[in-house]
């Protein structure tokens, strides 16, 4: 009787210790769900969702404060992925946050630019180079197409130009065939 009690007590002490150690040693920093959601979001940092960046939106989704259909750059594809991840129903993109557009980059008309640096301050990924009273230009490879530089520009010299299809980014199309009438 006593032996059995001792064995059980010892067992519980060892297992409890192991669990306690594991909870300290393998402690998860931050919310892994936020990271997973953030990985799906397109990282344009455009704020169209109403949050100041992709990470805050991811946090809001994880807390259940925001819907999954507020990200126009992510598009339907992104919503599908979020729905899969979170086990929620797919919803079409909510119109109030904007519409899905072709991927574009900002282009500064360098003849019109007055060098006010407002766009540089607005760019969330530091993709615009220039200095006060000097011409500015967009580093196209870093531009996420967030459009945040458009509004601050006092002379409206920034245009969003869709990325053209080239040999490098060309993709094979999904096979489609003309439906023929049965003879």
């Amino acid at each position: 009787m006593l032996e059995a009690l001792l064995v059980m007590a010892l067992g519980s002490v060892i297992l409890g210790g192991a669990l306690g150690y594991a909870s300290v040693k393998f402690r998860v920093e931050g919310d892994p769900l936020v990271e997973k959601i953030d990985a799906i979001l397109p990282q344009t940092q455009c704020g169209q969702c109403g949050f100041p960046g992709c990470k805050p939106y991811a946090e809001a989704i994880a807390k259940g404060e925001a819907d999954i259909n507020c990200c126009p750059p992510g598009g339907e594809d992104g919503i599908h992925k979020l729905a899969d991840l979170l086990g929620r129903e797919f919803k079409p993109l909510s119109g109030e946050h904007g519409v899905e557009k072709p991927k574009s980059t900002a282009v500064i008309d360098e003849n019109v630019c007055i060098g006010c640096t407002l766009c540089i301050q607005a760019c969330p990924v530091d993709a615009i180079v220039g200095a006060a009273k000097q011409m500015h230009t967009v580093v196209a490879s870093q531009c996420t197409g967030c459009e945040l530089c458009l509004a601050p520009c006092p002379v409206n010299c920034i245009d969003m130009v869709p990325i053209p299809e080239t040999i490098d980014n060309w993709k094979w199309k999904y096979p489609v065939f003309a439906v023929q009438k049965a003879a």
């Binding site: 979001l41 990282q43 960046g53 969330p124 040999i167 060309w170 993709k171 094979w172 096979p175």
Partner: protein, 512 residues
């Protein structure tokens, strides 16, 4: 006799070789204008070295390597550079790409050629020369050859396999090259083996080319080289790199590994020939053999300068009136050329004219019945029907789990499918979609990093500003404190008050 191994799957389509391999090699006339695309090799596009108005000589470099996996490009003839223009290139998209356009002067004058003794130079120097001579794999992928002669510290190259299988129907350019230039091919192969450090050379040729086997065997005996010429059974795609290695050596190169991990490396016979021209004769890669066949009156093989418009080349073979499509490559792996304005490039091995009578349109696509024919035909031991389901449903991750990227797009599955499903089209779609998404993810990661860095920087700047302000405030405080201690201040105030009262007192009597 070397024991031969087999590979699973494969198909035996009608070979259609005799149409084009009966005559000799015809040298195509020099066109008045040549369009040389800057992107001709797998890897990075080349970087132009000339500008409009420059005079160039035949064989002069007009573009240098644009990166570590890239080679030079040379003027196919002497003339004047009209400019670097966007022009259609032979690509399934039909999109335009930058090309150097050269107006030929008709003199066809060579630049000074410097043949070298490859056995007297260090191998690094030879690799550089191969790169600067623009030598790429001529089997179809156009991968820079100098890269393939290198191997990592854990790899080795003992056996050099020379690929003369030419398994795709209709194409006979390698066949003709082996018949006519066997000696040069073997000289080039010996140089490649020397650069790669290989001890043995094995040539694999499909047994439907007895003339080529005989010519190569004779040349090997004449040269006294340790070369084994092996006739391999004719079965498509015996000329696939991994298939030929397996047939000749029994080595199966698994997913994620390269042939040098197993001591072998594979080069096309035409690549070996180009190596010989480049190093032993100092002639860079400016022309190649192209088979023009199919629905034409005079099929044959042509020695064509890179940059010749495909329309000009096709005219030499006199296409029949009912030709309605032209493929680059063979019927199994080739793609329809969107325009004949595109020039011949280093990867152009065959122009195949087709008509409705020759390649009747397949019937309508029917549902997959899971018969498994495609899995039995797949030379890579894949399960095309599974990959097809997932590619079709755009569940790309799953398709990848079934080793989509092992698919060599040989077309065997499409060929055998009783439901006439264009499986390879789905695989090509899925592959390019996955690659595009990977690129997008990389861009998103970069953007996230830059955004987080910006936030960090803003935070740091804010703190620095606050620290600066705090320091300044402390400084003024210190100054005040220096001016006097608290008692002095009180005394000052008291004195000021006293002065004011004095003034008041002085003023008051005056008023009264």
């Amino acid at each position: 006799m070397r024991p031969l191994f087999g590979f699973t799957g494969g198909v035996k389509p009608a070979s259609h070789k005799t149409e084009s391999n009966q005559g000799g090699i015809v040298v195509a006339p020099l066109p008045p204008v040549l369009t040389v695309p800057l992107r001709q090799n797998a890897g990075l596009a080349s970087r132009p070295l000339v500008q409009a108005g420059d005079r160039v000589l035949k064989g002069q470099a007009i573009a240098g390597p644009g990166g570590s996996i890239s080679v030079a490009i040379h003027a196919p003839t002497s003339g004047t550079v009209r400019g670097i223009e966007t022009h259609p290139i032979p690509h399934p998209s039909g999109l335009l790409a930058p090309c150097v356009v050269i107006e030929a002067d008709g003199e066809d004058r060579w630049i000074e050629r410097t043949p070298v003794d490859p056995y007297a130079l260090p191998v690094e120097e030879l690799r550089t020369r191969l790169r600067d001579a623009g030598v790429v794999g001529l089997g179809g992928a156009a991968f820079p050859s100098f890269v393939k002669t290198q191997h990592g510290p854990t790899q080795r190259i003992e056996t050099l396999i020379l690929n003369g299988a030419e398994c795709e129907p209709f194409i006979t350019c390698d066949d003709l090259l082996m018949r006519t230039q066997a000696g040069q091919i073997l000289d080039g192969a010996a140089v490649l083996a020397h650069i790669a450090g290989a001890q043995r050379i094995v040539v694999g040729i499909e047994d439907n080319k007895p003339e080529a086997v005989a010519a190569m065997t004779a040349a090997a005996q004449r040269a006294g080289l340790l070369v084994e010429v092996v006739a391999v059974p004719t079965r498509y795609p015996a000329g696939g790199e991994k298939q030929l290695i397996r047939v000749l050596t029994g080595i199966e190169v698994p997913f994620g590994k390269l042939p040098p991990d197993y001591g072998v490396q594979c080069f096309n016979v035409a690549t070996a020939y180009a190596t010989a021209r480049a190093l032993l004769h100092g002639e860079p890669m400016i022309s190649r053999l192209v088979t023009v066949t199919g629905n034409v009156e005079r099929p044959g093989n042509f020695e064509v300068r890179i940059g010749t418009p495909i329309a000009d080349l096709l005219k030499l073979a006199e296409p029949k009136a009912d030709t309605d499509r032209n493929l680059m490559g063979g019927p199994m792996m080739g793609f329809a050329l969107p325009t004949l304005d595109a020039p011949v490039i280093k990867a152009t091995n065959c122009i195949l004219a087709g008509s409705k009578a020759m390649f009747p349109a397949p019937g309508p696509e029917m549902p997959c019945i899971r018969c498994g024919s495609c899995a039995r035909a797949c030379p890579m031991d894949l399960q095309p029907f599974e990959m097809y389901w997932f590619s079709r449903a755009k569940i790309l991750g799953k398709a990848q789990e079934y080793h989509l990227f092992d698919c060599i797009e040989c077309g065997c599955c499409t060929y055998v499918c009783p439901s006439r499903i264009p499986l390879v089209d789905y695989f090509r779609f899925a592959k390019s979609e996955i690659r595009a998404r990977e690129k997008e993810n990389e861009a998103a990661d970069a953007a996230r990093q830059r955004y987080e860095f910006r936030l960090e920087r803003e935070e740091r700047e804010k703190q620095e500003k606050a620290a600066k302000l705090a320091a300044k405030a402390a400084e003024t405080k210190a100054k005040l404190a220096q001016a006097g201690d608290a008692d002095d201040k009180k005394a000052l105030i008291a004195a000021a008050v006293a002065r004011a009262q004095e003034q008041k007192a002085e003023e008051k009597p005056g008023v009264e």
